[in-house]
């Protein structure tokens, strides 16, 4: 049997800032600060926990990785014999190294890339290969807003094994989120939705009579969109937040849309695409408007992650809670395991006003009462 090719990318500095109170480890000046504060490399240990699971199929895989700390060392320590396909440009690994490694792995036709890191790493992978490969994210970062990470290194290993053994054939696209650095430097905390990565779709919730699959996920999104469209009022502006679920609405209306941005429709027509806060406020000024959003990322934020364009001013202008429509697939809700949806608009008073029960649209003619709380 032909061996499966697995790429391994470890971001050796991921997560180091967290333990010492730094927000992320993007850049070596912060790493040095972290080391001074006593931080130790964390991600190699996380990677080892993944390898424990991979050992069961050691003979069935060919491991491709980068030299030294980017994967080779941990792999060897875990008694694998990896094929080293490149090395970081300098001892201090950078985002460029991650990107180069991912691109090279795709070129070599890997079946799967396992990456160990946080949101920054996920973003680098997305920037370099987009949806060209199937990936498994091992959580090791400080920031992990993205939905691409497994719940633990063991879970990531398990997922990889099941996928490589052919037990999982289904893929799902999950969000890549990261702090918007430009805004962050201006003192505004803002998490942007950068794109989507493809991960194996693990039915954590095993099924009897019926099943949850990526096929069902798509049907679920279409059912939600059909419901929303049926209920749309005339002469009302609908501000549609980013995400695959919300944008199915525009797809169903045969309208152009921006997957990662905010669009506005009015009487079934697109009146603005990929709008910023100012443009949104101008369009809805003095008009009746509603907001349609979907939870983004692994933690279930409906505001404050990936949709900062829908600012406190916009939310207040539409009239707040009664004019906010939350849509979410069942899979998204189930993955919250009973935890509430969250809001973080950067305006605590507004966050409190937005809290409470919502009728989340989860299917055609189906709503689920679900709590929203300040994040």
């Amino acid at each position: 049997m032909e061996k499966k090719k697995v790429g391994l990318i470890v971001n050796p500095i991921a997560g180091m800032g967290g333990r010492v109170g730094l927000k992320g480890t993007d850049g070596w000046d912060i790493v040095e600060k972290a080391i001074k504060l006593g931080a130790k490399p964390w991600s190699p240990e996380r990677a080892k926990r993944v390898f424990k699971k991979l050992l069961t199929i050691k003979d069935e895989i060919e491991l491709l990785t980068y030299q030294g700390e980017m994967g080779e060392r941990v792999a060897v320590e875990c008694s694998f014999e990896p094929k080293v396909i490149g090395k970081p440009a300098s001892a201090r690994t950078t985002a460029e190294d991650t990107k180069r490694a991912a691109r090279e792995m795709v070129k070599q036709g890997v079946d799967l890339i396992i990456f160990v890191g946080g949101d920054g790493t996920a973003r680098d992978i997305y920037d370099s290969i987009g949806l060209d490969a199937v990936v498994v994210g091992v959580p090791a970062g400080v920031k992990m807003y993205s939905g691409v990470f497994a719940s633990s290194p063991e879970a990531a290993g398990e997922l990889a094994v099941r996928y490589l053994k052919g037990e999982i054939k289904d893929m799902i696209e999950q969000e890549v989120l990261d702090i918007d650095e430009e805004k962050f430097r201006q003192g505004v905390f803002s998490v942007r939705l950068y794109g989507y990565l493809r991960i194996p779709f693990d039915k954590r919730y095993i099924v009897g009579g019926k099943s949850t699959t990526s096929i069902n996920e798509k049907l679920n999104q279409e059912a939600i969109a059909t419901d929303v469209i049926e209920d749309m009022e005339d002469n009302c502006y609908y501000i549609i937040g980013p995400g695959t679920t919300t944008k199915t609405i525009l797809k169903k209306l045969n309208l152009d849309y921006s997957l990662l941005g905010v669009d506005i429709i009015y009487n079934g027509e697109l009146v603005g695409k990929d709008l910023n806060e100012k443009q949104i406020l101008e369009i809805i000024d003095g008009k009746k408007a509603k907001i349609i959003v979907s939870p983004i990322g692994g933690q279930g934020y409906v505001f404050g992650r990936g949709n900062h364009q829908i600012s406190p001013a916009v939310i207040r202008k539409v009239g707040g809670k009664p004019n906010i429509i939350i849509v979410a697939t069942q899979q998204k809700i189930i993955s919250l395991r009973g935890r509430p949806l969250l809001v973080d608009t950067n305006d605590r008073t507004l966050d409190k006003e937005l809290s409470g029960w919502y009728r989340v649209i989860v299917g055609y003619k189906e709503r689920l009462m679900y709590r929203v709380e300040p994040g």
Binding site: A155, E158, K169, I206, T212, R337, R359, K365, R367, M369
Partner: protein, 521 residues
């Protein structure tokens, strides 16, 4: 005490039996129907020429052509390749109440007095049958507190649909056009949401409290409004946690003029103990299949016996069975002013009615309560043993300690520790001759399985089944590959490509679809 023995050397039959269409031989016949005798034909005709020509098919149906003994052999072989209710300790198919249905009741329903009845016979010739229906109605009235039952719905989901139809018609009659929402709970049966949608309602799901598993009362209060047409819920839900706030829920729905409908498909642990009418419900149904001695057979011949309060009687499907005191005769009453019409042809699945009547009469009032008590006892025994003996298993919503007659368990810990999933355990259980399944929608409990011991099984039976679970879980920790690759002793092996079962594009529900999709002969 009997013998508690895990059947490690069990091996299921494997007949390598083709599909019956593949066994077809052109011209082979089971029965050769004799020609009509000349004298008869002269009087009644040939039977075909009276039919309108457009209704006569141009070519014969493509049925398999096969002799009687080959048909018999074929289906007997297939029957040996199943793990049905009469051959295994069938407590692993929780929510389905796979209890023992006394075989004496089969004798009754196979009597020509039942099998030779025709639904269009004159009332005067079916007085006995009508009497049984009427008297079962009386028994169920006593059990539930309702005022009238219909047996027309052919199963639980159809009974839910009937309840949704009654709610719809009720508000139409009362001019409540604004009432277009139905409230249900997330852990109620999926049909409690699906059926009202078919009637055009919007459905609002109440989630369980993540700690206690009780439907969130606060969410219920938020969900109810003047648009609320009604409530359709299970209680206990499939977690078998009894909702202590159910009366409050029915009250808040009544306050806004809604109707409250009770899916009491999980009746086995509460019948004789809880009356739906006392919980504030306006209508409710019992499944005569599963609970009242008809085997629960995947859409087979069942009855969702639906009872309503007096004020909803005019909305019932027709006909209902009445008794004319003066003339001492039973009759079918079609004249109900607001009837929703029919939900099924005729009067309901009569054999299920006969079995239910026989079963209730043989038990009596106290016996029925005893059934519920034993079902509860068995369940709590099994729960205690599983928690103690089966490594990696726990119950969902552990904060709530007591369950009625089944439990939704989770193998989450086992999966985390070993990577072995509940689906693996299920296949491994087949190696010991046991059926286990995963439970259904919504999958908010990870790695779920549901055990419903019912009243039918002895302590030895229960211990044997638990031994199977314990062994499989232990193997998961010690020798996970044997569990992952199970079954080893069954009719078929592990299915390599599960998408065959999940992708509508790949499904093969019939032979014709198989030929169309895969083009094989």
């Amino acid at each position: 005490m009997g013998i508690v023995k895990l059947r490690k050397n069990f091996h299921q039959a494997k007949w390598d039996e083709p599909i019956i269409f593949e066994l077809s031989t052109p011209g082979e016949r089971g029965i050769l129907v004799p020609q009509v005798e000349k004298e008869i034909e002269e009087v009644v005709g040939d039977g075909l020429s009276d039919l309108p020509p457009h209704m006569i098919r141009k070519e014969p149906p493509k049925l398999p052509e096969i002799s009687q003994n080959r048909v018999l052999r074929h289906y007997l072989r297939l029957s040996q390749e199943t793990l049905g209710a009469d051959i295994n300790i069938d407590i692993g198919q929780g929510t389905c109440t796979m209890k023992y249905s006394p075989k004496i009741n089969e004798v009754l329903v196979r009597s020509p007095k039942v099998t030779e009845l025709h639904p269009l016979q004159d009332e005067s010739t079916i007085q006995g049958a009508l009497e049984i229906m009427y008297k079962l109605d009386l028994l169920l009235r006593k059990l539930s507190g309702f005022d009238r039952f219909t047996f027309q719905p052919g199963g639980g989901s159809q009974a839910i649909f009937t309840m949704a139809s009654i709610i719809y018609k009720y508000h139409k009659v009362h001019g409540n056009d604004h009432k277009d929402e139905i409230i249900t709970t997330l852990l109620s049966h999926p049909s409690d949401a699906a059926a009202p949608k078919v009637k055009g309602f919007k459905v609002i799901d109440i989630p369980p409290d993540p700690e206690t598993g009780y439907p969130d009362l606060e969410a219920s209060k938020e969900a109810v409004s003047r648009r609320t047409a009604g409530l359709i819920i299970c209680n206990p839900e499939d977690t078998e946690i009894f909702n202590p706030y159910v009366k409050e829920m029915t009250e808040i729905v009544h306050e806004v003029g809604g109707l409250c409908a009770y899916d009491i498909a999980n009746a086995n642990g509460i019948m004789g103990i809880v009356r739906p009418v006392d919980l504030g419900f306006d209508m409710s149904f019992y499944n005569l299949h599963k609970t009242f001695s008809s085997p629960h057979g995947c859409g087979g011949p069942g009855v969702g016996a639906l009872g309503v309060k007096k004020e909803l009687e005019p909305f019932l499907p027709v006909p209902v069975v009445e008794y004319d005191e003066k003339n001492k005769r039973y009759y079918l009453k079609y004249d109900l002013p607001h009837t929703i019409g029919k939900v099924r042809e005729f009067y309901g699945v009569f054999p299920a009615v006969v079995r239910a009547y026989a079963w209730m009469m043989s038990l009596g009032e106290e016996g029925i309560k005893e059934v519920a008590r034993v079902a509860i006892l068995n369940n709590n025994y099994v729960m205690t043993r599983i928690l103690k003996k089966v490594k990696g298993a726990s119950i969902s919503f552990p904060k709530t300690k007591y369950r009625v007659s089944q439990v939704r368990y989770t193998f989450e810990k086992l999966a985390e520790d070993t990577g072995v999933r509940v689906e693996d355990i299920i296949r491994r259980m087949a190696d010991f001759g046991f059926h286990l399944w995963t439970s259904h929608h919504p999958w908010i409990v990870p790695e779920p399985f549901t055990i419903e011991p019912t009243e039918s099984y002895s302590k030895d039976d229960l211990d044997e089944y638990i031994e199977g679970l314990k062994t499989a879980a232990q193997e998961a920790y010690e020798n996970p590959e044997i569990v992952r690759n199970a079954p080893h002793q069954s009719t078929i092996h592990k299915i390599a490509d599960l998408s065959m079962l999940e992708d509508p594009e790949k499904w093969v529900p019939t032979w014709r679809v198989y030929l169309r999709k895969y083009g094989k002969k």
